[in-house]
Symmetry: C2
Subunit: 404 residues, 2 copies
């Protein structure tokens, strides 16, 4: 860990001034015994920041929340699982607004003070009356230790709850950051949606909060890939209520840097939990490319490797097949010179100057047989680097995603 | 078929003046009972054209053949399976040249009159002495009915021989085009390489032949995708020896058009055979995108759908999951308006204006349960269109590609 921050229990309720909870509404076709509507509320005025999917097909709640995010005092996040409210047209937008309105009316807020999220089946309208009733009840039953319940409610095919919190030491005293997430899984016939809700009691202005969040997301959620498909609903939101009463965080200061590092830790921890819990995943692989001619090349190289079906199948089989990695580099479109490429598995040289190294194949096989390993590619062209966290592609993944 | 051309037996020997054959050399680690070196020879002076992988990691034979293709009179194609001679550095280039030299010396030709191809394992040097001996023997044992033997020798994990020939009626009389190919399969731990060798007895100048081949490849081999990984060795070659003594084909003439259509038929037939015989393939799917704002958008949309792991898993399961198609369109980066998108399965409307159509889900499921179907996306934005031929992603595919 770090002397700057340490992990603590409590999830999204670890920061002061937040209530949360979940209720069973009955939206999901399966998992009928699990709660499916979650809510987080700041009891004090709060600012919000968010990042959303860049998919051009955006779910209705993404469009509504992006608009509501511009409000000065955002208090509530409400989310449902089981239905993505995507590809639902004008009625879908209206339903997303009705979700916000139900929470606003129950809590005496304006509609735009509520952010909404959905995950689940695409192309089906929400059972909005049921959801409104549930949201009204839930608004009145939020608790100060509801983080786990909220984390459970947004799970779809996730097998483990994703929740983390840290205490950060600032010069004025401690502040806290908490988060819950749901992962890159899907339920039939749904999308892999990634949702993450963060809370903090730090005092920070909206623009600074958005900046900090964007930086953290770039180094965490934007660097994970399980199957390469980006969902219509991906959303990361953070509420900051200033209850810790620290001097407002300003970028460039030591305190801001500490906050950023702690937030980076929270988002990266949640991102790694998502990869680890990916459907049918048997390997957690970090791909690191350095020596690239440009940042964009480093990223494209990482993504070509991490998205190659053949590379991922080889990992599933524990096969240190560097030829498939060379091949992916070759078609990624990056600047490269084959004869300069070095490839390592967990630091052990597999390819030197584009040719097989002298490392015995048996040694490489042992490394790739592990559940976690790192692939490092050195293009030996420049100074740019990038990394992603990814998985293998297993027969179980296919079975889980073949639908009905 | 067509009144312009008709399919005939004989493969690459259907055109007059070609000899072919194969021999067992013992390059493959498995399939030890199968021939693994193939050769095609024009007994008369011939011109050649070719298209090669655009992967920046190019196998040694690709580099050598691209250079030899510039020769005025190319007579021979020699290919081995079991070793790709890729990522083999300077010795690999030397070995590719030695393959050409072995054939040239045996047949009294110059080295540059011989084109070489390899497919198989990456990163291992060829057993060049054995191969030279085999090539020498094979050069002296070519026959006028060796097409099937040559087609068999280039197969790796292919399960069916890929061979086709047509007779084309020109104004001056018939000419012939023949072809063999190997497909998008791989053997442990190899690359999916696509090789195609074509012959014709038509009289045509080199530049015109290259033009005709490029057009045909663009509409056939460039439009198939099984796993989206482009190999280091992909090669399509054609030899034209003019034995039919037709007036030289010139673009813009009716005869050239007939030749082009026949060549298109041969390459598309071989390309479809490759998809059909893809590893672990249970579905053959044509994806057609029309109404795109640009040709480039139409192609990107097709490729995003055809390469989506989630879409392909759904097809494997017979699940008409159009949400995943909408999602792939959304992240493909194309110009689109969600509310204008129509999607059809085999002509039956699944999505109308971005929303679920009224077609019963059961009817769509029946269509996607078939072994062959077509997905049509109408973006309703412009007039550009594109199509690709692709497959599902099955558990068997993963098992076949997990390596050792």
């Amino acid at each position: 860990m770090s002397s700057v921050f340490s992990e603590i229990p409590g999830g999204i309720n670890a920061p002061a001034g937040f209530l949360s909870g979940s209720l069973y509404c009955g939206i999901k076709a399966t998992n009928l015994d699990r709660p499916d509507v979650a809510m987080i509320r700041s009891v004090q005025p709060a600012v919000a920041a968010g990042t959303f999917t860049t998919n051009r097909v955006k779910a209705a709640p993404v469009r509504v929340s992006a608009a509501h995010l511009r409000a000065a005092d955002v208090r509530v996040i409400v989310a449902n699982a089981g239905n993505a409210n995507a590809c639902t047209g004008v009625p879908g937008i209206e339903n997303a607004k009705r979700m916000a309105r139900a929470a606003a009316q129950a809590l005496g807020l304006k509609d735009r003070q509520v952010l909404v999220c959905s995950t689940g089946r695409i192309g089906v309208q929400l059972p909005i009356e049921k959801i409104e009733t549930t949201i009204t009840s839930l608004s009145h039953s939020l608790v100060s230790d509801g983080s786990a319940a909220a984390a459970d409610a947004i799970m779809t095919s996730d097998t483990v709850r994703k929740e983390v919190a840290v205490e950060v030491q600032l010069s004025s005293g401690p502040v806290h950051i908490g988060g819950i997430a749901k992962g890159a899984g899907m339920i039939d016939p749904n999308m892999a949606t990634m949702l993450c809700f963060l809370t903090t009691d730090a005092l920070i202005e909206k623009a600074e909060l958005q900046h900090a969040l964007s930086v953290s997301v770039e180094h965490s959620f934007n660097r994970i890939t399980v199957d390469g498909d980006m969902s219509t609903n991906d959303t990361v939101l953070i509420l900051a209520n200033g209850v810790a009463a620290n001097p407002a965080l300003r970028s460039g200061t030591d305190d801001f840097e500490r906050f950023q590092r702690a937030l980076d830790h929270v988002t990266l921890a949640l991102a790694k939990m998502i990869v680890d819990d990916g459907e049918g995943v048997t390997k957690f692989v970090e791909v690191h490319v350095n020596g690239a001619a440009s940042f964009s090349d480093a990223r494209r190289a990482c993504e070509a490797i991490a998205k190659s079906t053949l590379v991922k199948c080889a990992w599933f089989g524990g096969d240190p097949n560097w030829g498939r990695i060379m091949d992916a580099l070759g078609y990624s479109g990056i600047k490269m010179r084959e004869e300069l490429v070095d490839i390592y598995y967990d630091g052990v040289l597999a390819v030197k100057g584009g040719l097989a190294s002298e490392t015995p194949a048996e040694m490489l096989r042992k490394l790739v047989a592990e559940e976690r390993f790192r692939v490092t590619v050195d293009l030996n062209l420049g100074a740019a680097e990038y990394n992603v966290f990814t998985t293998d592609l297993s027969t179980e993944y296919v079975e889980l995603n073949m639908g009905e």
